[in-house]
């Protein structure tokens, strides 16, 4: 969300002509909604619905339609931003699907999970709505207060002359150092803010695939626990997990898991000679880079 983007009066943007929206592109979207919750609230209020009694089908359809229109605009859409919209769209879709089924009682864990998802979504939405209202109040107060100017004038000469002589202990060199520090750009690369502590040695997915391939080719099925028993860091665990997915895609391993959250067993199914890690896709090759999608989530 760029700070330079001001909300406009066009609250009905989702209904604005596509050609007009196309012309203004990226701006149109940001200008009207400051996020998925804002959009959702906009749609709900447009249909004059109570948040807790939302006609999900209608709102979901419009939400999806809105996202689709954004995609059609063909603008770059930051991954972390898009994912927030998509998570909410997915939840809405789930809820809508559940509603479309014949009315029945809550039967299994899936139903309960769905109810929880709905409650959580509505709770987050209500919370957001409260802050949005408060933001309006703050904005009004700041504007009103901005109409008062404080008296802050320079000290009159004869008082300034009374001030005790300044203690000054800096050499020109020390002063230059200070200037260099003060002039250094503070966040030239916002996407990397807060990632400094992640300076772990790069972990190669390929390398981890080779290690596991070697162990699994010995014949005995191994549990995932056993496969990561010697991993020194979480990054290695993640790399091994990604490697397993790649190996599964290459059909050289098979998974067995008796139930949700039960132990995952990995078995070698490829021929002994016909596979090597070079078939692994290059996208993982940058090691730790895999984790850098958005910094907000990394805190």
């Amino acid at each position: 969300m760029g700070p330079s983007i001001a909300p406009t009066a066009e609250a009905e943007a989702p209904d604005a002509g596509t050609s007009e929206a196309r012309k203004a592109g990226f701006e149109v979207r940001l200008a009207n909604f400051t996020g998925p919750f804002d959009l959702l609230l906009g749609l709900i209020s447009k249909h004059k619905l109570d948040i807790t009694e939302v006609a999900l089908a209608t709102v979901t359809d419009e939400f999806i339609k809105y996202i689709r229109r954004l995609q059609e605009l063909g603008e770059d859409w930051a991954l972390d931003e898009a994912s927030e919209f998509l998570v909410i769209a997915a939840t809405l879709l789930d809820l809508k699907a559940a509603r479309l089924l014949p009315a029945g009682e809550v039967e299994d864990a899936e139903d309960i999970a769905l109810l929880e998802a709905r409650d959580l979504l509505f709770a987050r939405l209500l919370q957001y709505k409260a802050f949005k209202q408060i933001a309006g109040i703050l904005g009004g107060t700041l504007e009103q207060e901005g109409r008062r100017y404080p008296r802050q004038v320079a000290l009159e000469g004869h008082f300034a002359a009374l001030l005790p002589e300044l203690v000054w202990r800096h050499t020109p060199e020390q002063f230059a150092e200070l200037a260099a520090k003060a002039l250094k750009p503070k966040d030239s690369a916002p996407a990397e803010v807060g990632l400094d502590h992640l300076h772990a040695p790069p972990v190669s997915v390929k390398e981890q695939a080779e290690i596991m391939g070697y162990r699994l080719k010995l014949g005995a099925p191994l549990s995932f626990q056993a496969l990561i028993a010697d991993a020194e860091t979480t990054l290695v665990v993640v790399a091994r997990f990604l490697a397993l997915l790649e190996m599964f895609r290459d059909r050289v391993v098979a998974f067995e898991q008796p139930g949700p959250l039960a132990e995952l067993t990995v078995r070698w199914t490829g021929d002994d000679a016909g596979w090597d890690s070079s078939s692994l896709s290059e996208e993982y090759e940058s090691g730790t880079e895999a984790g850098r999608s958005g910094d907000g989530a990394n805190e």
């Binding site: 983007i5 957001y128 802050f131 008296r151 805190e299």
Partner: protein, 218 residues
């Protein structure tokens, strides 16, 4: 300075000057460039905090046109309630006292004071500021979760504007925590964050949401 006797002498000394302690306080208010607390003013004038607070309230009412104590009116009693407001007002903000031009004259004063004029905050910035004000100290991730969008650049803007600041790191996650500044209080015209409007009327039946929400974060 804190000797009771010295303080008594201080008041007597001030009252001997033309305009008395009230004018002396006004003189000091003319040179401060940030809100001054009653304690600071009392120390500077060499009187008790109680005396200063009485004087401050008198001045505040007098500037707003509700005085019964201005010396010019003392003499004539009945004229007290009918004074016109002055062009400025004395306000207690961010824990201190300071003189401001009256808001009715904003347009005129604005022609003389171009600098210090602040551009309006965007909706995104206001929402982010609201979450930080009510949830401080709070990490960017948490604000992000409440608003449903990444707030990094908005947080940077708010920091640059001096409205929020770094308040150390979360002991558990190590994430930077943000809080509002005294400049924010000044801009809002309030004494402390406790004076912000209540959030609860806007949040019906959601007392437990924080816990619920935190538990669901990964």
């Amino acid at each position: 300075m804190s000797e009771p006797e010295a303080v008594e002498d201080g008041l007597a000394e001030l009252e001997a000057l033309p305009g008395g302690a009230r004018a002396a306080l006004e003189a000091v208010l003319m040179v401060i460039d940030e809100p001054a607390t009653s304690e600071e003013l009392a120390a500077g004038l060499n009187v008790t905090v109680a005396v200063v607070e009485d004087l401050l309230q008198d001045l505040q009412r007098e500037y707003s046109g509700y005085t019964g104590k201005a010396p010019d009116v003392d003499a004539v009693g009945f004229a007290a309630a009918s004074t016109a407001p002055r062009g400025f007002e004395l306000r207690n903000v961010a824990g201190g006292w300071r003189i401001y031009s009256r808001s009715e004259f904003a347009d005129i004063v604005g022609r003389f004071v171009l600098e210090g004029q602040t551009t309006r905050l965007t909706q995104a910035a206001l929402e982010t500021l609201a979450v930080i004000a009510y949830r401080q100290p709070v990490s960017r991730a948490r604000v992000s979760a409440i608003r449903g969008v990444n707030v990094d650049s908005v947080v940077r803007t708010l920091t640059q504007r001096g409205l929020i600041e770094d308040s150390g790191n979360d002991p558990e996650s190590g994430a930077v925590l943000y809080r509002t500044t005294s400049y924010f209080l000044e801009r809002m015209g309030i004494g402390s964050v406790a004076e912000l409007p209540q959030l609860s009327p806007h949040l019906p039946g959601l007392e437990g949401i924080d816990e619920y929400y935190d538990a669901s974060r990964m």
